[in-house]
């Protein structure tokens, strides 16, 4: 039996059943199997050859793709390196921009402070000149006599009610006549200062609005006036810087009131020697409408409604910056103080 399972055994059988009808059925059966096997083998060999060809081609492609992939990885590594370099450069650029912005802001703040100081001198001169004009006016003997009469009236005015009606009316009537003749003096006192002979000048109030989750929480304004205006108000006198501070505070206060934040807590601080106003909105329900717009409008109105700014040919402008800029200016102040200490 075992010889028939061997392929070599089949190959030994070479019988044509048609030409040899007496060939045993066993041989015929073996021949059929042998024939089937041959056909099947041929078919498999053919398929294998095709697959082998395809496999070889795939291997070739893989090899090519491996090479391309390696090349791409090298390129990718190169690009990542370049990107890192660019990120470093970009980060440096941002830092450089912040530093340049801080320096520019500090420089302009100091320049504006200096300009306000110089205009303050002119304002002082204009006021002194007006005082001299008034003095000249009251040096006139007739005017001096009227002023003296006016003063005497003010002294006795509280006792007028004790006088009989006739006397009282006569005195009041005379006083009214004195008052009318003093009108030139009243007019001179009430007259606004004339515009100075100088170029118009614009100075800025630096402003920032800090927000949390889109809600305004704090405002900071740095004014072009020295912090001493706040600290030493009782001894320093009231100069142009003080008047500018009042105007700015009034404008901001009006804007806060307009947006229902009138009760916000306010602090005055020293930033780089200049007066800063900090408004804390965190405890309020937040502005009812556009806070920045309200502040802008108040500043616009302030330019038109300030006698001293008009006569000094000055305008005040708002310059909005990010809170980080104010922080960097404040840091400058801290550094300067440390250096000074």
């Amino acid at each position: 039996m075992s010889e028939f399972v061997s392929e070599s055994a089949f190959e030994e059988v070479d019988v044509d059943p048609a030409s040899a009808p007496d060939i045993p059925r066993m041989h015929a059966a073996l021949e059929r199997v042998t024939s089937w096997h041959r056909t099947a083998r041929t078919d498999l060999d053919s398929q294998r050859a095709e697959l082998q060809t395809e496999s070889d081609q795939t291997d070739t492609k893989i090899t090519e793709l491996d090479a391309a992939l390696l090349e791409l990885r090298e390129r990718q590594a190169e690009l990542e390196g370049r990107l890192e370099e660019l990120d470093e450069l970009s980060s440096g650029l941002q830092s450089e921009q912040s530093e340049r912005l801080r320096m520019a802001v500090v420089e302009v703040l100091r320049a504006d402070l200096s300009l306000v100081s110089r205009r303050g001198d002119l304002y002082g001169e204009a006021r002194a000149q007006r005082e001299q004009q008034l003095e000249a006016l009251v040096r006139d003997p007739e005017m001096a006599r009227l002023v003296e009469e006016y003063e005497q009236f003010v002294e006795v005015e509280p006792t007028l009610s004790l006088l009989p009606s006739g006397y009282r009316k006569a005195i009041l009537s005379h006083h009214e006549a004195v008052r009318r003749r003093l009108q030139p003096l009243f007019d001179a006192i009430a007259r606004e200062l004339d515009p100075i002979d100088a170029e118009p000048a614009a100075v800025s109030v630096l402003a920032s609005l800090a927000q949390e989750d889109g809600c305004p929480v704090a405002l900071v304004f740095i004014m072009p006036v020295k912090f001493e205006v706040y600290r030493d108000w009782s001894t320093a006198g009231e100069d142009l810087s003080a008047l500018i501070a009042y105007r700015v505070i009034g404008a901001i206060s009006g804007a806060l009131d307009e947006v229902d934040c009138g009760d916000a807590a306010i602090r005055y601080t020293d930033i780089d020697g200049q007066l800063a106003m900090q408004v804390w909105l965190g405890d309020s329900d937040g502005p009812s409408s556009g806070l920045r717009s309200a502040v802008r409008q108040r500043f616009h109105a302030l330019r038109e409604q300030s006698s001293e700014l008009k006569s000094m040919l000055m305008t005040l402008h708002l310059a909005w910056v990010e809170p980080e800029v104010i922080e960097s200016v404040d840091a400058t102040s801290g550094e300067a103080n440390s250096a000074g200490a």
């Binding site: 003063e151 006192i189 108000w233 003080a242 505070i249 916000a264 306010i266 108040r298």
Partner: protein, 164 residues
Amino acid sequence: MPGLDLFEKLSMVEVARVLDLHPFELARLLGAGPALPRVLSFEETEIERLRQLAGVETWWDGGALPEQDESHQRSLVRSLAHKIVEQGLPGGVATRADNLFRGLDGDDRSFVRRVVNQLIRERLASSSSSARGLLFHVDEDDGARLAQIAKGENWSSGLEELCS
């Protein structure tokens, strides 16, 4: 200049001095209210209106203290509590915090300011910001305790310490 003072208007600083305020407080009040005038000067007759606008009250007029105790400082504490109750602050409207020591000078002013802060620390009073400045509030429930303090009773160790 002799003769002209009578006719000159008052500056912001001069009005602030009369009202015992910082001129910046005045600027804030005017800005939030009727707006700052075109020329920043005021007639003397405007001072009363500004005083009311600011809510300025002078609680200490230099007369005898309403409550007397063994030491001046204890008298001041008791008198302050007395005035807070007398002015109807417990449960009533708030007043400017600086009204509580307006009219006092020097050490007395500093001392009463510290007492006001102590009352706030002890939660017998509270403060809030406003366009008129810092306001001082007292809850109705704390009125009885303040009345006791005015009588020299039920003092906290903090108040005792301030006077020691």
